[in-house]
């Protein structure tokens, strides 16, 4: 009997923390999203579902743009991260952990500061574009900041390690004897990659997509520091509704829609793969 309650005692503090500060606020936010009123006179629950329609109609562009940026950034991180993860996993040898450490080290600089550094690097007269313009390689009015390229580039930069690590973990688990066996059976290198290594690495790619697509789509720091007025993402709108306009119902309706879209996608995704595997990959 005593042993039976031990696990419950162990999960109680952490479980309660998650329940009170994650689940309760989410449920409450769903309720806020149908309230009406303003910050001075207070908000009242009137089941005003039109909040959703209004918010979506007003910010459809930003919603679609965020999903587009998130998709573009995710695809770019896969393309950029895969060859690197492959090389570290199969050719890294004794230096594997050193390379992984190098991939992780940039995290010790706050991502806001790294993004600000990119802003300096890419500034119109900064250390990268300035000399090129002086040499006449680039026209004087050339700029990267405040463009779509800058925002997607920033997103890709900031989330690349989250793609490298899970792909690396999956590739590391590939048994080299399986690859050897395929070559003994006269597969070419390209064939054994396409038929053996790549399919075995797919769980890593899936975990990486989970780790990058959601935060990229809901990001507002890159758009705010590197982008211009034409690059506003849904995160910028939600942040403004909450912290500047104090229009909590509109902000809640937008956040709830964003979360619903993301979570439905994730759960469909995780169901196909098994929650435990995705969590395990996420922890690495």
């Amino acid at each position: 009997m005593r042993r039976k309650i031990v696990p419950y005692l162990l999960i109680l503090p952490g479980g309660l923390w998650l329940l009170i500060f994650l689940v309760v606020p989410l449920v409450y936010m769903a309720s806020v999203s149908t309230m009406t009123g303003d910050v001075v006179n207070g908000f009242l629950q009137t089941f005003h579902f039109a909040n959703y329609g209004q918010a979506l109609a007003a910010y459809k562009t930003q919603f679609l743009r965020s999903v587009g940026y998130g998709l573009a950034g995710t695809i770019l991180t896969i393309v950029l991260a895969y060859p690197m993860a492959y090389w570290i996993a199969f050719k890294g040898g004794a230096r594997k952990s050193t390379y992984l450490l190098l991939v992780l080290l940039p995290f010790f600089v706050s991502f806001v500061l790294r993004t600000v550094s990119w802003k300096f690097l890419l500034a119109d007269d900064g250390i990268l574009l300035g000399p090129l313009k002086d040499l006449g390689v680039l026209p004087q009015d050339f700029h990267i900041l405040a463009t779509t390229v800058a925002v997607i580039g920033g997103l890709t930069y900031n989330y690349l390690p989250f793609m490298v690590l899970p792909i690396y973990v999956a590739l590391e688990r590939v048994d080299p004897r399986v690859v050897e066996a395929s070559q003994d059976l006269y597969a070419t290198r390209a064939q054994s990659f396409a038929k053996i290594v790549f399919p075995l690495s797919l769980p890593g790619v899936f975990a990486g997509v989970l780790m990058t697509f959601v935060p990229m789509t809901s990001d507002y720091v890159n758009a705010s520091i590197l982008g211009g007025p034409a690059n506003t993402m849904i995160g910028n709108i939600i942040q403004t509704e909450y912290l500047v306009n104090n229009d909590y119902p509109a902000g809640a309706a937008l956040s709830f829609t964003l979360m619903a879209v993301m979570l439905i996608g994730i759960f469909v995704y995780a169901k196909a793969l098994g929650t435990e595997n995705v969590l395990e990959a996420a922890a690495r």
Binding site: V6, P106, L160, V221, I238
Partner: protein, 289 residues
């Protein structure tokens, strides 16, 4: 970061030459090695990209800039090191970040370790829902977590500030610690604990003398992860901060008016401490294995 680069290149090239001589006639080998070399160069190119803004950050802490916009190189100076405390609110922000990080790490590590042990060791009803909530905490957008917490705080009349930031940081990092510890618990050899019990150790003594030392590496890396997540965080912090300012929040606020070189130096110092801790952790954990 040029340190590890220079020794790696010659060793690699030397190894390549040696194998080339060993297999002179094989037709497929040289092509394969070209591919490897290409991938090797590519990997370093990506690493250079990852470090580019950090190198810029470090360099511009030594920039003899006159105006507040620290964008173009004006010459080398050490003067900013002497004027590190010029902005009192910046100093406060850095101290807040460190204090919040330590406090959040302490709470997160205790809660996360307990969760990890429960999930790794026991089979019990409610395991599925617990996993599901942890999964939701890891995969929910930070923006949504921050927004929903603020909705609740506003309606309850809770004043946001230092305490609510700590609360939020524990919330988003506790699952990561739990998963890290669980992986360690699952990989543990249960027969050692049985042996301890056979030798007459009580449950309590077995835990502290046998189980805990064995899961300690998992706990330590979980704690480091929690601290790194906390000190780096911006989004949830912005939603739950009220009037309290942390280091990333101060920088974000300074972007429009110009980021002073002191920020670069403080960033460099935090980076240096992080690098030392990470290297020590890697070396000691390698020795343990």
């Amino acid at each position: 970061m040029s340190g590890p680069v220079s020794p790696a290149l010659p060793t690699r090239a030397a190894a390549g030459e040696a194998t080339e001589q060993a297999t002179p006639g094989a037709p497929r080998r040289p092509r394969a090695r070209w591919g490897d070399r290409l991938l090797f160069g590519y990997t370093w190119l990506i690493l250079l990209w990852l470090f580019a803004p950090i190198l810029v950050m470090i360099a511009f802490g030594f920039n003899d800039t006159r105006s507040k916009s620290n964008v173009t190189w004006q010459g080398f100076t050490l003067k900013w090191w002497g004027r590190l405390g010029e902005y009192p609110d910046l100093t406060t922000a850095v101290l807040n970040s460190i204090g919040i990080g330590l406090l959040a790490t302490l709470i997160t590590t205790v809660l996360g370790t307990l969760l990890g042990i429960a999930l790794g060791r026991y089979r019990f009803r409610g395991q599925g829902p617990t996993n599901l909530i942890m999964f939701a905490a890891i995969s929910s957008p930070e923006l949504v977590m921050g927004a929903s917490l603020l909705s609740l705080f506003v309606s309850l009349g809770v004043q946001t500030g230092y305490a609510t930031i700590v609360l939020a940081h524990v919330l988003f990092s506790v699952s990561f610690v739990a998963v890290t510890v669980r992986a360690r618990v699952v990989g543990m050899d249960g027969s050692i604990e049985e042996a301890a019990r056979d030798l007459g150790a009580s449950t309590w003594v077995t835990f502290w003398r046998v189980t805990f030392p064995m899961i300690l590496p998992g706990v330590v890396s979980g704690a480091l992860l929690a601290f790194a997540l906390s000190i780096d965080d911006f989004v949830i912090t912005q939603f739950t901060s009220g009037a309290t300012i942390t280091f990333p929040l101060w920088i974000y606020g300074a972007v429009r008016i110009g980021v002073p070189p002191q920020v670069n130096i403080l960033g460099t110092l935090i980076f240096a401490v992080g690098v030392v801790i990470a290297v020590v952790n890697t070396v000691t954990s390698r020795r343990r294995v």
